[in-house]
């Protein structure tokens, strides 16, 4: 049984179809990169999975359970964690408190105490390398540190599926390589599936993903193993534009 199943999911905003009849299966421990231009429906798809939006049509099934109509706060403890494109820390709280929130509310065993959560938080803060910043206010971190803190916060939820919204955008190439190595490591250690949106950073896609899903105008265009997907002419066209000879052809 797949960890996550999307069955013909559609999400509309008035006349705009943000997600158009998308089906997707994610297995335990898989890593998938979602690529696509701005407005192609990637974030909307994440929101449908995490419950921020409810799907208008289709079904969302997680661990065999139909979660299509569940609110986000009941989906999270089932094992769905997510990070945001622009980090959304609880700014006035410390890094430690931020991560502890994930441990406290994001796990199914709701009985975990505040003190235990803080201990769990320390572990994940160490994992992402933010230990020196533990007691800092989250709002005072640099953008990259905020991203790392968000990752620690969602890992503290012990997710089975981690949705990462543009986790690498704005990062230095060296940091990207580090992050990719890190994600691979935690994926293996924690046994979680990761769906990451990766825009325009091919080296990260190649380094990280086993599978690539390409979205275009709300639809799933390609869903294939990484090497195959990157050779697909439609992907090349969306990503790199039409080949030059076609361009001249079209004009001529």
């Amino acid at each position: 049984m797949a960890l996550l199943q999307l069955e013909n999911v559609t999400k509309r905003f008035g006349g705009l179809v943000a997600v158009n009849d998308v089906s997707l299966e994610v297995e335990d421990g898989e890593s998938i990169a979602i690529v696509g231009s701005n407005g192609s429906g990637k974030t909307a798809l994440f929101n449908v999975i995490s419950g921020v939006y409810l799907a208008d049509e289709g079904r969302v099934v997680f661990k065999g359970k139909d979660i299509t109509t569940l609110p986000p706060h009941t989906r999270a403890p089932l094992g769905i964690g997510r990070t945001f494109q622009i980090p959304r820390p609880f700014s006035s709280a410390s890094v430690r408190e931020n991560v502890a929130v994930g441990a406290m509310f994001g796990t199914l065993s709701g009985a975990i105490s505040v003190d235990e959560s803080l201990e769990v938080a320390d572990r994940y803060i160490h994992l992402v390398g933010l230990t020196p910043h533990t007691d800092k206010e989250a709002g005072s971190l640099t953008p990259v540190e905020k991203k790392l803190m968000e990752i620690a916060r969602s890992l503290a939820m012990r997710p089975k599926l981690l949705l990462m919204d543009e986790a690498l955008a704005g990062m230095h190439p060296r940091d990207i390589d580090e992050m990719v190595a890190f994600l691979k490591r935690i994926k293996a250690e924690e046994g979680i599936a990761i769906i990451a949106m990766v825009e325009h950073i091919m080296r990260a896609v190649v380094g990280f993903a086993e599978r690539v899903m390409v979205m275009h105008q709300g639809q799933k265009l390609v869903d294939a193993p990484t090497a195959e997907a990157l050779r697909d002419p439609r992907v090349v066209e969306i990503y790199l534009g039409r080949p030059a000879e076609d361009e001249t052809h079209a004009r001529g």
Binding site: H73, T74, R75, F90, S92, E97, V101, G102, F105, V114
Partner: protein, 333 residues
Amino acid sequence: MKAKHTKYLPLLPVSCAYFILFLIGKNVAGMWQLMAMLAFYCALGQAFNIFIGMTGYVDFGYVAFLGVGTYGMALSVSRLAGFPNLGLGVVVIGLILSFVMAGALSVAVGAVALRLRGAYFAIATVGVNEGFRYLIEGARIWGGAEGIIFSGQLTETLGRDTASSLSTFWADVMVMIVAVIAAVITVGYMRGRVGYALTALREDEDAAKVMGINVTKYKIIAFITSASLAGLLGACAWALKVMYVFPPEAFQIQYTIEAIIIVVLGGAGTLLGPVVGGLIYGLSKYWLAVVMPGFQLLIFAPIVIFIVVAFPEGVVGWVKRRAKGTAIQSYLL
């Protein structure tokens, strides 16, 4: 283990503040009324802070909970006066009734309004106050527009001396006790799951939701707590003190505004903030009334604006930031 021991240390300065108010009032002739007023403002700020400070939501209908609490006490004393052997029991029942009635009203209001966000919530609550007042007046329930005057029944039930000491002394002491209870609850919330959930939803409600926090539930918890404490304050500081209740006075929106000013001045979401805010507000209001009667609000407005601009996180928020890493840190919350 260290955290366990120091968890309740911040209650020390808060309790001290009320104890000092009590001592000055008791021992310096003519000071009791002023100290009682200061204690009321501090307590009001503390009760309100549990909701406004911890959730970041502004409730313009807050005074309705004090009003309903006032009615709880008035109803108990006036309706139970005929029963023999109740004695001080009417006051106890009155307190319970105030607590429950304010709590019930907050459940009704909160279940609907707390599904709205930020400014929409604030707008939705503006009407609660006036609505409840006109319901009482228009439907002629609980004495309608004439209110309830129960000084006679209270004297009858308890005797002249007890009734008089209840209204001139014990009512104010009870306000201080409610304030300390509010402080204990605040610390419990702030250091527990509730506090983490409220901080998260105050900072970013959507992020809080996907972290697994049932935001509506935690907002309602804070709302009910804050409202029930307000009910008790209404019962003590208003009903018992003047021994009557009159709709236009019990539902005066001015008190909501004062509560907001107190919380913001002192530091929203901090434990000590409302106490500091209450003292600053109460003292300056009193002082301005003496030196420039009639001009209090005109003078007070720029002072408030100055403090809000100079210390956007409130006086205590500012001090807390400065005190980070020093010895007094564990006493500040």
